[in-house]
């Protein structure tokens, strides 16, 4: 019930519609630029769609904006106190809000599936659209955004006002993405599980249409951990 309420409430908010429209326009422009810059080269459509760093920075920015709908806005408006007084368990609230945010992100990324048919229509050439790879990449994108949203919720619960929360969520996402640059298991001898937790590696794999169950397990584990952390942080609010 909570997920449905939160989802519908956000869906009809101008702020969500605006941010989703900006995200769609920016990713569309990015795709167009990639197609233009790399014409004549042997690059798969999926890499043009999902393979650029700019695309993933856009994803990170947008997820950070959407995640603000979870708790910082509730703190700002004082409605978190209503939730804490309601006969609702903390995990129900966290899962409900997470499901709503994830669904909003999935909905906002669906237009990405339309870019390939649009390109084919614009080029007026009957080339086959690699639907399997596109959906694999989209699934990976949804998995990664799910993890980012879970991280965002936990971080946003620490920062109680929207702007610091946004900056913290974005920074946490950047850190997860570029952890490879900081951690010692960057080398080829790095254990496979470590590799699975590197989002930039995952993004690359998924963008190529490669699905790896270890990546899925890593994403699911990460999500579960940060959701658990969010529940504990929410419970802590009763003690602070």
């Amino acid at each position: 019930m909570i997920w449905k309420r939160e989802f519908l409430r956000a869906l009809f908010q101008p702020s969500y519609a605006l941010s989703a429209a900006v995200f769609t326009a920016m990713t569309g422009l990015n795709f167009w630029k990639q197609v233009h810059d790399q014409s004549g080269q042997d690059v798969t459509l999926n890499l043009l769609l999902f393979g650029s760093l700019f695309f993933w920075v856009l994803v990170l920015l947008w997820v950070s904006v959407v995640t603000l709908r979870t708790f910082p806005e509730e703190v700002r408006s004082g409605t978190l106190e209503l939730w804490l007084a309601a006969p609702v368990r903390e995990w129900e609230l966290v899962l409900g809000k997470f499901a709503a945010v994830w669904l909003l992100i999935v909905l906002g990324t669906l237009p990405l599936a339309v870019y390939a048919p649009l390109l084919r229509w614009a080029e007026a050439q009957p080339w086959p659209i690699p639907w399997g790879e596109i959906w694999t990449a989209l699934s990976g994108l949804w998995g990664i955004t799910g993890l980012l949203a879970a991280v965002g919720m936990a971080v946003a619960l620490v920062f109680e006002t929207p702007l610091p929360a946004f900056l913290a969520v974005f920074s946490a996402g950047l850190l997860l993405f570029f952890a490879e640059s900081f951690v010692p298991f960057r080398s080829t001898e790095a254990p496979r599980w470590g590799y699975s937790f590197m989002l930039i590696q995952q993004a690359g794999d998924w963008s190529r249409g490669v699905a790896d169950t270890r990546s899925l397990v890593a994403l699911a584990t990460g999500m579960a951990f940060f959701l658990f952390l969010s529940v504990r942080l929410l419970q802590l609010k009763r003690l602070r």
Binding site: M1, I2, R5, R9, Q13, S77, G78, T79, E81, L82, L84, A85, A86, P87, V88, R89, R238, L239, R240
Partner: protein, 310 residues
């Protein structure tokens, strides 16, 4: 039904509430009064189950906010200080969604909504977005949300703060209507609320309970004497002399017109001399056209209980 034993809540090293002990039952309107920072809001939030106590026990109908959190919170309707609400929603949407969050079935939600709309006078703005409502109407929406599940206990934190006198009066009337069959706890720093609404006051100061009683009991605890004023038709000197002879009377002042004497009697605290005065008037053949107990303003009583600090 509500039992609070040695309730303490600390924020870091500072105790916002310390060793608070009281019990209350349905039909009471309990006022938490005291100066800013005395712990009224913390107490409200503890009673509403929003905060967990550091030490001590709290229970409602035997339910603990720690052990039976969901059942406990289902018994309580809570209106926080600023009456927060999801501003982009319409009043109807807000109430329907809140009913669903409370786990109410649709049919009951509709019936309850109809009832709270009537009680809180919200029918005219049912389809209006909450962010477009006046402060008074938003307060009513908050009250309606607190009341929606027909809770056994209502915790209202500063329910009339920021409202104009007319709006405050409307909210007070609504609260009085809700008293039947439930316990209402009001945290307030407004004397009008404490005086006009509360059947019992808990005076808090620096997180501690300094007094507990009805407004009249608290008045009697402060000052050594009480004052009764009467207007009597009789001879001024005779009135003064006879009244001074009444039991428990410690001082008599007379004034007023030639024909009607205004007599002010200071009598010992906790005594009632009205019947004696009537009997005296009958015996002396006096007429009485006015008789009233002079009560010190509650603000002064509370200030006195707090040792002069407000």
């Amino acid at each position: 039904m509500m039992t609070v034993v040695q309730l303490t809540r600390r924020f870091g090293g500072r105790a916002a509430i310390q060793d608070l002990t009281f019990s209350a039952s349905e039909g009471e309107i309990l006022g938490l009064v005291g100066p800013n920072g005395s712990g009224k809001t913390t107490t409200s939030r503890l009673l509403a189950g929003v905060l967990e106590p550091t030490t001590g026990h709290l229970s409602l109908y035997g339910r603990s906010p720690l052990r039976d959190a969901i059942e406990y919170r289902a018994l309580v309707g809570y209106l926080p200080e600023t009456a927060p609400a999801w501003g982009e929603l319409r009043v109807r949407e807000q109430l329907m969604q809140w009913a669903a969050i409370q786990g109410m079935p649709l049919r009951r939600s509709l019936l309850q909504m109809e009832w709270v709309l009537g009680v809180c006078g919200l029918e005219p703005c049912l389809e209006r977005r909450i962010e477009t409502l006046s402060r008074g109407y938003r307060q009513r929406v908050g009250l309606a949300m607190a009341l929606l599940s027909n809770p056994k206990v209502m915790i209202l934190d500063e329910p009339t703060t920021g409202l104009d006198p007319l709006q405050s009066e409307t909210i007070r009337e609504t609260i009085l209507r809700l008293r039947q069959g439930r316990l209402i706890v009001i945290a307030t720093h407004r004397v009008e609320d404490a005086e006009g609404l509360c059947t019992r006051l808990l005076v808090l100061h620096q997180g501690r309970l300094v007094a507990d009683g009805t407004p009249d009991e608290l008045r009697r605890r402060t000052g050594k004497t009480e004052t009764l004023t009467a207007e009597i038709r009789g001879r001024r000197e005779l009135v003064r002399e006879r009244c001074r002879s009444l039991l428990f009377v410690e001082a008599v002042e007379v004034g007023g017109e030639e024909e009607w004497v205004r007599v002010t009697l200071r009598h010992r605290r906790g005594t009632d001399i009205r019947a004696d005065l009537f009997r005296l008037a009958v015996r002396e053949g006096w007429e009485i056209r006015e008789l009233r107990e002079e009560r010190p303003p509650l603000t002064r009583v509370i200030a006195s209980l707090l040792g002069g600090s407000t």
